[in-house]
């Protein structure tokens, strides 16, 4: 007789989907276009030069090399970005989280609902991006389908810990720091534009330790079909573990901030 009740976290997710319904296209299109432009400039423009001199990068054309790397970088950018101002706003400015917590939702529902929507946004852009690089002829394997969850995992490996951090902040200066010392260096030096092997030795180890390196490695392997199980599994475990640990941390910082 009674309707099955909707899971609490899904009610939180629904809010984000609803409030974003007018703006997600434009915000997502912006970051999508940004990365497509990068792809055109780097992969096609710079790529023709690279290919003329080096013939291949990591055994493939420069476009093939850069395109899947940019998929992971896109996922990182959206995942990180969405966990900064939106989380701070939901605590400090719009106070959405407090509105939710006055209803049946619990802290974990608030968190999962929000991260879930961020994952959705990452997935939408990644799917569109994959379709475009398929049209460019980059996709070389049916395994490329798995690059979609890999991109989502890459995004969440950033959003979860950043959300945990955002919930501890009173001002947004920390976000600038994350960009300046985290995301931009990662974007440039995690194997997106050139193999990490080109870096000096000590920097290589740093690069291997970063989440974007693993996202890039995994996405590239899947899209190009050049993958070996061991390292791919390592990449996936790393990303999922970081997302998981970040979520646990976020649950803790959210609770400390929201339930006092």
């Amino acid at each position: 007789m009674a309707r099955r009740s909707t899971p609490l976290w899904w009610r939180g997710y629904r809010y984000w989907a609803y409030q974003d319904r007018k703006t997600w296209r434009s915000s997502i299109t912006t970051s999508f276009l940004f990365h497509i432009l990068y792809l055109a400039a780097m992969g096609v423009g710079l790529g023709s030069l690279v290919d003329k001199h080096a013939h291949t990068v990591g055994g493939v054309s420069y476009l093939d090399f850069v395109a899947p790397g940019l998929l992971a970088a896109t996922a990182m950018q959206i995942g990180a970005n969405d966990a900064m101002y939106p989380v701070m706003g939901a605590i400090k400015w719009i106070r959405t989280y407090f509105a939710m917590l006055a209803t049946p939702l619990r802290v974990e529902d608030v968190l999962i609902g929000h991260l879930g929507w961020i994952a959705t946004r990452v997935a939408i852009v990644s799917a569109a991006y994959l379709a475009v690089i398929a049209a460019f002829g980059v996709v070389a394997s049916p395994l490329a389908v798995l690059a979609l969850p890999a991109a989502v995992a890459t995004g969440l490996a950033f959003s979860a810990p950043i959300a945990a951090f955002a919930a501890t902040q009173d001002k947004d200066v920390g976000f600038t720091t994350i960009y300046r010392f985290g995301l931009i260096p990662l974007f440039l030096f995690s194997g997106t534009f050139f193999p990490v092997g080109q870096l000096p030795g000590w920097l290589q180890s740093v690069a291997y330790a970063t989440p974007l390196y693993h996202g890039v490695d995994l996405c590239r392997g899947l899209v190009l079909g050049r993958i070996s199980l061991g390292p791919a599994l390592g990449d996936a475990v790393y990303l999922v573990a970081l997302a998981g640990v970040g979520s646990v941390a976020a649950h803790r910082t959210f609770a400390r901030r929201l339930v006092v």
């Binding site: 009610r11 609803y18 959405t96 407090f98 509105a99 006055a102 939702l105």
Partner: protein, 325 residues
């Protein structure tokens, strides 16, 4: 849904103390580190009652409210809300509570109607039910013609009414209002009071915090005066005034600096004299007689006023301080 309602009517799970109380607290305590915000208070709130927490900022009212609304864990003591333990059944309790928080949590970018829609969906209400209730609630909140407007440019009073309308979307058994009219102009306050009075007549149980004595007198059947995390007194507004004050009060203003020196010359003109920085208060059953006596003694205050005693006087008596400064 109907079934679970009958199962949880008062009596089936009797809270400690008053059987059938919607909210019941024993030795309820809230600590933040070393600071004790709520210091072991006991109370029972009955179904249909309007119960008030009156006190200055920092008295522990909001902390108490946040515990009742299951948004803040109890540090020690017991609390039962709708017969349930907030630590265990937070989501089910909150599904039957409407909360009007001190700070609005409206989504300013969305429309008035969207705000009701979204909030109703947190309670898992079907859209058509929300739409029906929203129409009624917007009418109640006098916001019908603003339904499709964004919330951001609305006045403070309108936002507050929207917050109250929103808190009612789930048809709650208990409405919790934390300083519902703070920051509103008098006209907006009176409109809100009128709405809350109507809800009371419809039988909605209300818990209200306020630091306005007139608000407490208007809205509350029963209230506690709260200070430093404890209850200084409890009763109906009328009872409290009778118990802690005289029927009338004479307010005298003298030229600045003059009135401390005068207090000795006022002995016996009233039952009690309070010296405040800006005025003298004479507590007497017959204010006019006291004022006449003041003049007979040759004192010439700059201004004088005879009024009925209010909860402000009760608070002053209980704590030695004025409520709103």
């Amino acid at each position: 849904m109907a079934l679970s309602r009958t199962a949880s009517t008062p009596g089936t799970s009797a809270p400690p103390g008053g059987a059938g109380a919607l909210v019941s607290a024993r030795q309820l305590t809230k600590r933040f580190g070393d600071f004790v915000a709520v210091d072991g208070v006991d109370f029972d709130i009955a179904r249909g009652e309007s119960f008030g927490f009156l006190g200055p900022n920092g008295a522990g009212k909001t902390s108490t409210m946040r515990m009742i609304s299951c948004m803040s864990p109890v540090s020690s003591g017991t609390l039962r809300v709708l017969g349930l333990d907030p630590a265990v059944d937070g989501p089910s309790i909150r599904s039957r509570i409407g909360l009007v928080p001190q700070e609005d949590t409206l989504d300013l970018e969305l429309t008035v109607l969207d705000n009701l829609m979204i909030y109703g969906r947190y309670f898992d209400l079907p859209r058509h039910v929300i739409r029906q209730r929203a129409a009624r609630l917007l009418d109640f909140a006098q916001l019908t013609d603003r339904a499709d407007d964004r919330v951001d440019p609305l006045s403070g009073g309108m936002k507050r009414r929207l917050t109250i309308a929103r808190s009612l979307i789930s048809d709650p058994d208990l409405l919790i209002l934390d300083e519902p009219t703070t920051g509103l102009d008098p006209q907006a306050r009176h409109l809100l009071w009128d709405r809350l009075y109507r809800l009371k007549q419809e039988g909605v149980t209300q818990v209200i915090t306020t630091h306005y004595m007139d608000e407490a007198e208007q809205l509350c059947d029963r209230l506690v005066v709260m200070d430093h995390g404890r209850f200084a007194a409890e009763g109906s507004p009328r009872e409290l005034i009778e118990r802690y004050s005289t029927r009338e009060v004479v307010e005298l203003r003298f030229r600045s600096g003059e009135h401390e020196a005068l207090s000795g010359r006022l002995d016996g003109v009233a039952e009690r004299v309070e010296v405040l920085p800006d005025r003298l208060l004479l507590y007497a059953a017959d204010g006019d007689a006291s004022l006449a006596e003041v003049h007979r003694r040759g004192l010439a205050p700059e201004s004088s006023l005879v009024r009925r005693a209010t909860l402000e006087d009760v608070f002053l008596r209980l704590t030695g301080r004025t409520l709103v400064d």
